[in-house]
């Protein structure tokens, strides 16, 4: 079927941003986000500077802005929540287009929107310029516990497999005349999710068995792992 190659968030390129070591990029994202979150939301101009910084990095990476922009729809639920805040917050009110909105709510909504959007753009930029495999290596270099890195690795490895499985289940369902939409389709979706969960769980067991039969030792204490076995771990997760 027409499944694309590579990761859906990654944009292939050879810019300096692409080539920078993954662990530095992860660290950069972390520091950037901590600074953004710690900035008082009344410092409006400073957020402009942050945005300019991000735009600069994206321009340097030559990832098209539209590419990042399209993927920002992931933020929509937060935006809806932010838009609700001025309506439900209490306190002094101001009139905007005839609506009485709470000042505190407006400010909170602005803070949530600005910080959230900056976070989403920054994360998408990291994802667009870094291969998942490099991200794992970067996390390992940052001394993130090996088991955690492995779990993330498995997630990346099997996300597409599970998505594909879900797609085939959807096709099989629709082929039997099922039409999604409305409250009455929810039980069907719930059962699909249940079946998918059981199947993914069973697949996990099979994968684990296959790993064990190739000599994998999950009980080995992480701190006793040599560099070699750690690399092997992430290498097998591609």
């Amino acid at each position: 079927m027409g499944a694309g190659h590579g990761h859906k968030l990654h944009f292939h390129g050879h810019s300096p941003v692409h080539r920078a070591p993954a662990h530095l990029k992860i660290l950069g994202l972390l520091v950037f986000m901590l600074v953004v979150v710690a900035t008082p939301r009344e410092w409006f101009a400073v957020f402009g500077v942050y945005l300019a910084l991000l735009v600069g990095v994206i321009a340097l990476s030559r990832v098209p802005f539209g590419y990042i922009g399209r993927r920002m729809v992931v933020e929509v639920p937060f935006v809806l929540f932010a838009l609700l805040m001025p309506l439900v917050a209490t306190g002094p009110r101001v009139d905007v287009l005839g609506l009485g909105l709470a000042e505190a709510g407006l400010l909170a909504a602005w803070g949530l929107l600005a910080k959230g959007t900056l976070g989403v753009i920054a994360s998408l930029t990291l994802a667009a310029t870094t291969e998942p495999r490099d991200l794992l290596v970067g996390l390992e270099r940052l001394r993130v516990p090996a088991q955690l890195v492995q779990i993330i690795g498995f997630m990346i490895r099997y996300l597409d497999v599970v998505t594909d499985e879900l797609r085939r289940m959807r096709v099989a369902r629709e082929s039997r005349g099922f039409q999604s939409g409305g409250l009455r389709s929810w039980p069907v979706h719930a059962r699909t999710a249940g079946a998918l969960f059981i199947r993914s769980y069973e697949r996990g067991e099979r994968v684990h068995l296959a790993m064990l039969s190739r000599g994998y030792q999950s009980s080995a204490a992480p701190h006793r792992k040599t560099k070699g076995t750690a690399d092997q771990g992430s290498g097998s997760l591609r």
Partner: protein, 252 residues
């Protein structure tokens, strides 16, 4: 001749990523026929199947089922008329019990109550799985799951049964049982496969799909014994199988 059950004309399709899978497919299947759709991996067989019940929409050309065009307004009726059994029964079976799963299709068509239960048991009877109605599908053997998957589609009383690789992953006994079931059904069958002996055993007529076009349409015996055609389209008989030696052993 009467209106064909399946009428595919000039069907072309390219995936959104630009990969063209079908280049103008013409195919007619008449009521009561059992037709094998043969072709190497990547020939576009599954893509063609997904057009037959409107999961994919034709880029060019048309598909009609008993005269009803496969277009958005007719999808519900089309999916009743065309029963697709997918290669992996696990994709099809997702309900807690076999009974619920077989009931899923007809209840989507609005059936309820006693009529629905009767339809379910009839379908399970046809595939010899009536005793397993209250078992969870994932506790059944692979061959049993494949038969239940056939029942989930039979319960919708389709006009044509489309099977995607029905014999894959089956042991020889399950394979034979499924063949007997398929032969006993009074329904038009289009069977997608690269299991050539199975096609020979079940389908008097075969069409070969290669590189997105139908290259041959004829009697299965003639197709399988045409060595030049076979090798040109990467079709190979399994070791030790010769249609010429087995033609007299075909079941009636």
């Amino acid at each position: 001749m009467s209106t064909p059950v399946l009428d595919v004309q000039g069907l072309a399709y390219a995936y959104p990523d630009g990969h063209q899978a079908l280049y103008g497919v013409d195919l007619h299947v008449h009521a009561g026929e059992r037709v094998a759709l043969l072709g190497p991996n990547g020939a576009g067989k599954t893509t063609l199947v997904l057009h037959l019940n409107g999961i994919l929409t034709a880029g060019a050309g048309s598909v009609a089922v008993s005269g009803l065009p496969v277009v958005k307004e007719n999808l519900q009726e089309i999916r009743r008329r065309v029963g697709v059994v997918f290669q992996d029964p696990d994709d099809q079976l997702f309900m807690p019990t076999v009974r619920d799963d077989v009931a899923f299709g007809p209840s989507n068509l609005g059936m309820r109550g006693a009529a629905l239960q009767q339809r379910v048991m009839e379908a399970l009877d046809k595939v010899g799985m009536a005793d397993f109605a209250d078992r969870p599908p994932h506790h059944l053997s692979f061959g049993q799951r494949r038969r239940v998957a056939v029942a989930t589609v039979l319960a919708m009383e389709p006009e044509i049964l489309v099977l995607d690789e029905p014999s894959s992953n089956l042991d020889p006994a399950s394979r034979r049982e499924l063949a007997e079931i398929l032969r006993s059904l009074d329904v038009t069958v289009l069977m997608v496969t690269h299991d050539l002996p199975y096609a020979f055993e079940l389908c008097p007529r075969s069409v070969v799909l290669s590189d997105g076009v139908i290259v041959t349409d004829g009697a299965t015996y003639d197709v399988l014994t045409d060595d030049a055609l076979m090798s040109e389209h990467r079709l190979e008989l399994p070791f030790g199988f010769d249609p010429r030696a087995n033609v007299n052993r075909l079941p009636g």
